[in-house]
Subunit: 430 residues, 2 copies
C-alpha cells in the first residue's frame, strides 16, 4: 500500500529489472529538473513535441504499419482499428499536445495563504507528484497524451505501452524526446519502455522508490493486475456500472432523451449506462415508450419481473449477474423500483461508484439523491456520458478514478499534483 | 495498494477475525447514516459526548487506575505518565471534543460549480471517506479525539488502542456511545475494539471491504507494520528528519532563536529539528554563538569536519547515520555547507520530506528554497515546531502525512473527506 523504500528482495535481478531500475533512476533525476521548470520552458517543449510529431509523421506511420502487419491474425478488426494511425490521427495527437500547453500551469500556485494567531502565514503550494508510471494497451495516442499531461504538471513519466503498438510508441517517443531536448529539458523526463517483455511491468510495479503513482489504462484484466501488484498508489477505476434512475417526478421527454443517450451514444465506454431504474408510478408512461426507442436502437433489454410484466415476456429476465454487469455492449438491465430510496439502495448494492444519475423535476429528491449516492460523479437531469475530463473542464484526462482518496472521478492535471504546506515567518518560534 | 473487495483467503477465519468482520459490517451501515447526518445532529452528539466524559469521570478514572496498576513494572515512567488520566486531563478531552463541534462542517460543501460550454453545471461536493480505522498506542485521549474528528467529518470509526490502555479506552468508548445514542446517532459509528489480541490488528488491515483508510498513530514500529500490511490506503508519516538551514543572508538573532526553538522546545516530536545546516560564510558569526546556546541547553552536537574545526574536537564527528537519524532526543547533527544548493541537496538526500526551514533575509533564495524542497511543510524564518494541525488552523489533527497522495502534512477534518463531482443539467445529452 504505502511507498516502501527497500530494494526488492535479495534475489539477483534480471537484465530487464536492472534496465527498469536504470530508467527509474534517470526519471527521478529528471523529475527534480521538471519540478523546477518554468511554465514557459514546459510550454516550449510541448509546442516542440507537437511540431516533431508532424515533422516525423512518415517515420511514425512506417512504424505503425509495421505494428499493424505484425498484428494481423493476432488481433480482431476493432483492436487493429484502435491501433491504426494516419495523417489525421497524428495531427489530432499534435493538436492535443498543443491544447495541453494552453492549459493553466498548476505548479507553484499558492492558495489559502493566511495569517495565523501566532503571526506566521500558512498556505498550500501545488507541486508535482514526481515520477508517474503509465501502463496502457493498444492506442498509441496515449503515448503523446500522457507525455504531455505529465510534462505540463512538472512530473517525469515512464510509459509502458502494449506490445502490439511497440513500434508506433517508440516512433512517438522519438518525437517527444526531440521536443524535450529542443526546449532544453531532459529527454529522460519522458521515457517509453522499449522491451516488450512482460517482466518490465512487474519491475515497474515493484519500484516505489522510483515511481510515485501508477495509472493503468486499458481493459479490466490489466487494471486488476496493476491494482493487485503495485507497491505504490494507483489511480484507476475497475468498473463502470452506471445507473440512470427515472424518478416519479421525471419529465418524460428528458428521461427518454437522457436514457437513450446514456446507453446508445457509445456502448464501450465506462460512463455508459448499464442499468436503468424506473419508479413504479412512471413505468407505464415513461418506460414503455423508452423501451421502444431502445429496442429500435438495437439494445437488448433484460428486465426484472415487473419490467417483463409491463413490456412482455420476450424481454429476458435479469438476474443478479445483470445488476452487477458492465456490458460494454448494446445490452441494458432494467428494474422497476418502488421509489427513490429503493433506487439508491440498488445503486449502493450493485453499482461501482462511477457515475449515477437521477432524472427528476423534484428539487427535494434531486438534493437527496446528490447527497446520498456515493459515486465519483452524481448527476441530475444529465446523461452519464458527460463524466469525462473534457466535459468537466479539466482540459484533458489521464484517467478516471473510482477510488476515494486523492483523485476521484475524471483525473486531469490536478490529479498529477499534490499540495505542500508553505509557512512564512519573521523569526517566529513556538 | 488498492481497495480489493475479495474476502480474505479461504482459510477458516478465527473468532477474532470474525468479530472484526462483524464490527466492519456494523461500521459500514453506520457510515451510511453518518454521511447523511445533519451538522446539528453531529454537533449534538459531540456536546453529548463531552458531557458524558465529564459525568462518567469516576468510571474512567477507575478504569485508568486499573491500566496503571497492570502497567507497573512493564512500562517505564514516561510511558506510564502518558497513560495516566486525571480530572484535568478528562476535562481537556471533553473540551477538545467541544472544540471539534465548533469547527465548520466540511460535509456537503459544493465548490467550483461552473457552467460548461455544453450547458451542464459541474462542481465538486465534499463527502466523508466512509469508515476510518485508527490504530494507536498508549495515550487514551486519542480515543476521544479521533472519535470526535471522525464523527464531525461524517465517517464511522473503528478504533484500536494499545493493550496497556485497554480499560481506559473502553470507559471512554462508553461515554462516546452514550453521546451518540443521546443524539439519536448509531452507537456503531464509533466502535472501540475490545480484544487486546494482536490478531485484531491484522484482521483490520486485511478488511478493505469495511475500512476505507487506516491511520496509525504511535511509534515507528507500529507505523511500519501498518504500512507494510494494510490492504487499504494509509495516512502516515514514518520519520521526521527535519532540517533548519541557516543561509548566508540569515539574520543572526532570528537564526539563533529559530534553531534553538526547533531543537529544544520539545525533543520527542516529529517536527523537531534533527539536523542543522549552516552556510559556510556565517558559520563563525552564527554557528559559534548558536552552538554555545545549544550546548548550554544540554544538547549534544555531532558535527561535520568543518563544524569540528570551528567548534573544537570535543564535538563528536557526524557519520551518515547521523544525517539519517531521527534522534527524538537532545542530540543534533550539524553540517556546514558551501551554499543553499548544497543544503537543498543534503535535505533531498537525507531528509524524510516532513518539515524543513530556511533562515534568510534574501527573498530570491527564500523563493527558491520554498520551490525546490519537496517536503510536506517548507518554511521561511519560522521554527519547524509550527508544523502542526492546530498551528496551521486545521482546528485539530488526526495525524501528519509525509505521503504525497491525498493528504500531505498535518491532516485535519479535510483529510478524512473526499470530493465527488456533481453535475446538474436540464435534460442535457451528448
Amino acid at each position: 500500500m504505502s511507498a516502501n523504500l527497500r530494494e526488492p528482495g535479495g534475489e539477483a535481478s534480471s537484465r530487464v529489472t536492472r534496465q527498469m531500475h536504470v530508467m527509474g533512476e534517470a526519471a527521478r533525476r529528471a523529475a527534480r529538473r521538471m519540478a523546477a521548470a518554468e511554465p514557459g520552458e514546459k510550454n516550449a517543449a510541448l509546442f516542440a513535441i507537437a511540431e516533431a510529431l508532424t515533422e516525423q509523421q512518415d517515420a511514425i506511420l512506417a512504424a505503425n504499419a509495421r505494428d499493424i502487419r505484425e498484428a494481423r491474425g493476432k488481433l480482431d478488426a476493432a483492436a487493429i482499428e484502435r491501433l491504426e494511425l494516419n495523417a489525421a490521427r497524428i495531427e489530432r495527437m499534435a493538436e492535443g499536445v498543443r491544447q495541453v500547453a494552453a492549459l493553466a500551469d498548476p505548479i507553484g500556485s499558492i492558495t489559502d495563504l493566511n495569517f495565523r494567531p501566532s503571526g506566521i502565514q500558512v498556505g498550500r503550494m501545488r507541486v508535482p507528484l514526481g515520477v508517474v508510471g503509465i501502463i496502457y494497451e493498444s492506442r498509441p495516442n496515449v503515448t503523446a497524451d500522457a507525455a504531455a499531461l505529465c510534462l505540463k504538471s512538472g512530473n517525469a513519466a515512464i510509459l509502458r505501452g502494449g506490445s502490439e503498438s511497440a513500434h508506433s510508441n517508440q516512433a512517438i517517443a522519438a518525437a517527444v524526446a526531440r521536443g524535450l531536448t529542443d526546449a532544453g529539458l531532459p529527454r529522460e523526463a519522458v521515457q517509453v519502455v522499449e522491451t516488450t517483455d512482460r517482466e518490465a511491468v512487474g519491475a515497474m510495479l515493484a519500484m516505489p522508490q522510483y515511481i510515485d503513482v501508477i495509472v493503468p489504462r486499458g481493459g479490466k484484466g490489466l487494471i486488476e493486475f496493476v491494482a493487485d501488484n503495485a507497491r505504490m498508489p494507483v489511480i484507476k477505476h475497475l468498473d463502470g456500472v452506471c445507473h440512470v434512475y427515472i424518478d416519479e417526478s421525471a419529465d418524460r421527454d428528458k428521461a427518454i432523451a437522457i436514457a437513450v443517450n446514456a446507453k446508445t451514444q457509445r456502448y464501450g465506454t465506462c460512463n455508459t449506462m448499464e442499468t436503468l431504474l424506473v419508479a413504479e408510478s412512471v413505468a407505464r408512461s415513461i418506460l414503455e415508450p423508452l423501451a421502444h426507442d431502445l429496442l429500435q436502437a438495437g439494445v437488448t433489454l433484460r428486465g426484472c419481473e415487473a419490467t417483463r410484466k409491463l413490456l412482455g415476456p420476450e424481454i429476458q429476465p435479469a438476474t443478479d449477474e445483470d445488476w452487477a454487469a458492465e456490458y460494454l455492449a448494446p445490452t441494458l438491465a432494467v428494474r422497476i423500483v418502488p421509489d427513490m430510496h429503493a433506487a439508491i439502495d440498488h445503486i449502493e448494492r450493485w453499482g461501482s461508484h462511477h457515475t449515477d444519475a437521477i432524472v427528476t423535476e423534484n428539487v427535494t429528491r434531486a438534493r437527496a439523491f446528490i447527497r446520498a449516492v456515493d459515486s465519483a460523479s452524481v448527476m441530475v437531469n444529465a446523461s452519464t456520458r458527460f463524466a469525462d475530463g473534457f466535459e468537466y473542464g479539466l482540459g484533458a484526462e489521464i484517467g478516471i478514478s473510482t477510488d476515494k482518496l486523492h483523485a476521484r472521478g475524471p483525473v486531469g492535471l490536478e490529479g498529477l499534483t499534490s499540495q505542500k504546506y508553505v509557512v512564512f515567518g519573521d523569526g517566529h518560534v513556538r
